[in-house]
């Protein structure tokens, strides 16, 4: 059985956000919820300022606190290492959100995709209403509904349950890459079996010195970051006392 992991090459990442948009489309993610997100860190004092852009998603931790704390096993591990969520078993206690040290789990506070449930026309007598738009393309709640998502979980998760990235388990099952990996124009995301020494992820981790988020707390995240984008040049100096 493989153990899936992702490597994110920060030198290649241009911060375009294509991963997040692709994820939203693939997984029918509602507004206000981010399976794929980013941390923007600004460092330095003006005018010597730069920012770091770190794409984030569920880390599919080996030692996942969200799984350990879930009272109904709605949050569980698959044999391939993916941290999966079953919305049917979820009681909406939100303890996984409380427990996740990475802030990547979101709750459906109300009915998802509220915008697309709106019956009002944008411009009266001129444009269609969001509901009509959805109906016109035979979508389920949203016009860009992707039925593939429903192969392993709910296509759209109902109100009252949590949701988060699943490494696109429904695609991985069919031998496809997670959609954020597919969509990244800079090939900054590399996905594969970390147990296979010949996989691209294993080779990269062997070649570079990776880091993981909040490594010290022992969650064993399986999203690794390598390199860093930094075009800055500086004149060699030893500084001054």
């Amino acid at each position: 059985m493989p153990r899936y992991a992702m490597v994110i090459d920060l030198q290649r990442c241009v911060g375009c956000g294509a991963c997040s948009i692709a994820c939203r489309n693939e997984n029918n993610v509602p507004e206000g919820i981010y399976w794929s997100n980013k941390i923007t860190e600004t460092v330095g004092v003006f005018p010597n300022v730069r920012y770091h852009y770190i794409p984030t998603l569920c880390n599919h931790c080996q030692n996942a606190p969200c799984v350990r704390g879930c009272p109904t096993k709605a949050m569980h591990k698959l044999a391939n290492g993916i941290t999966m969520h079953d919305p049917h078993k979820c009681i909406g206690c939100k303890y996984c959100m409380f427990n996740c040290p990475y802030g990547v789990i979101y709750f459906n506070w109300g009915k998802p995709h509220q915008f697309w449930r709106n019956k009002d026309e944008l411009i009266k007598g001129c444009t269609a209403s969001p509901v009509e738009e959805t109906k016109a393309v035979d979508g389920r709640v949203i016009p860009y509904y992707n039925p593939d998502r429903a192969e392993t979980s709910d296509g759209i998760r109902p109100k009252g349950v949590v949701e988060k990235c699943t490494f696109c388990d429904h695609r991985v099952k069919k031998g496809e890459l997670p959609y954020c990996v597919e969509a990244c124009p800079a090939k900054a995301r590399i996905f594969g079996d970390i147990k296979d020494p010949n996989s691209a992820v294993s080779k990269l981790l062997g070649k570079h010195r990776p880091f993981r988020l909040r490594e010290g707390i022992g969650t064993e995240p399986h999203v690794f970051y390598i390199r860093n984008f930094n075009p800055a040049q500086y004149e060699a100096t030893k500084g001054a006392a």
């Binding site: 984030t56 350990r68 979820c90 409380f98 990475y102 009252g160 988020l213």
Partner: protein, 364 residues
């Protein structure tokens, strides 16, 4: 008297109706009605749950004094104490039930239990505690505190009342995500708070009961109240010490980002009822007990909210994008109504039981 009673029943009825209406709205619209979000996740209803659950454990422990350990003063109050503990745990269940996003999936707690989860353990212990309390009440109602079955319920309830606050504290305390927000000290603090709130709640209840219902038990009530006032002052002193110790631990954290300010106002509001209890004249008077007990309960509720929110107001990871470093929170009307519903359930049960269940009867 009759008019006052009717007004009281109407107030309770209004509370219950408002709660049922809130339940329907939550079911239809979801928890968007709360002022919670993906950063401040657990809000007033969870604070209310913690308050009622711990108070119930405190009342359960207090009832064990008479039922299990044979302390005379508490034997007479046993039935009322057990009833209040039952009412408080049900009030806690109302709060937490209305906080759950998908209450309709709750049966998975039994079908797919994760016994490693502190929430699962806490839910199990409080459910067993409820069963033991019901059993204890039944034994007291049939005037038997000595048989094997009664002892079994008595021991079960005592053990549950002791462990439930510890497990409840660990729900927060063992989260890796927020190590310095709560810490492993929290379970102990919860146990101390449970005892204080149980004593304070029963003292307030007994004062009001003896003012409203003038029965043949007044003298016995006076003895009980005297003992409760002493216990209240003493347990408050312990709670105050633990609160200060907790504050010191928090302010000594090496992660300044996670350190929350010590709320000296809360320490002061724990100190005032303690100081009141030190003055014999105040301690002996009904109003003194009422004010001191009431102040303790309000402060403890505030303390629960402070602990709860203190661990959540700083966004974690990417959730910090576009948000201030520290978020603020104030409850929505629906969250207040959950609290009102829980309180109405508790008081309705107590009112009903006072009228129909002979709470002053002492078991042999």
């Amino acid at each position: 008297m009759r008019i006052k009673y009717t007004v009281w029943l109407s107030v309770l009825g209004a509370g219950l109706l408002a709660g049922l209406y809130t339940m329907v709205r939550l079911f239809l619209e979801g928890h968007i009605l709360f002022n919670a979000n993906d950063v401040v996740i657990w809000t007033l209803p969870i604070g209310s749950y913690v308050f009622f659950a711990l108070t119930s454990s405190g009342l359960g422990l207090l009832s064990s004094l008479g039922f299990l350990f044979g302390v005379r003063t508490y034997k007479r109050a046993g039935k009322r104490l057990v009833l209040l503990a039952i009412a408080a745990v049900l009030a806690a269940f109302v709060s937490v039930g209305l906080e759950l996003g998908s209450l309709n999936h709750i049966y998975y707690i039994f079908l797919s239990p994760n016994f490693g989860s502190p929430i699962q353990i806490m839910g199990s212990i409080y459910s067993i505690e409820l069963v033991c309390l019901l059993g204890k009440f039944w034994r007291l109602h049939v005037n038997d505190a000595q048989s094997g079955v009664s002892k079994l319920f008595g021991i079960g309830s005592f053990v549950c009342s002791l462990f439930a606050p510890l497990v409840l504290g660990s729900v927060f305390g063992i989260t890796e995500a927020r190590p310095t927000f709560f810490g492993s000290f929290l379970p102990v603090l919860c146990l101390v708070i449970a005892v204080v709130s149980g004593v304070a709640a029963f003292m307030v209840y007994t004062v009001i009961h003896s003012l409203v219902v003038k029965g043949p038990y007044r003298e016995a009530n006076d003895l009980l109240l005297e003992d409760l006032a002493v216990k209240h002052t003493f347990t408050l002193f312990i709670a105050l010490l633990f609160y200060l110790l907790w504050a010191i631990l928090r302010s000594a954290t090496s992660l300044p980002d996670f350190a929350t300010d010590v709320n000296f106002a809360l320490a002061l509001f724990l100190f005032i009822p303690f100081a009141m209890g030190l003055v014999p004249a105040i301690r002996a008077s009904h109003w003194g007990k009422l004010v001191a007990g009431g102040l303790t309960l309000i402060t403890i509720f505030k303390l629960h909210m402070e602990v709860l929110l203190g661990g959540q107001v700083r966004p974690v990871g990417p959730k910090a994008e576009g948000l201030p470093a520290v978020l603020s929170y104030s409850p929505s009307i629906w969250e207040y109504l959950v609290l009102v519903f829980s309180l109405a359930v508790l008081l309705s049960l107590a009112t009903f039981a006072e009228k129909y269940l002979r709470l002053d009867a002492e078991a042999a």
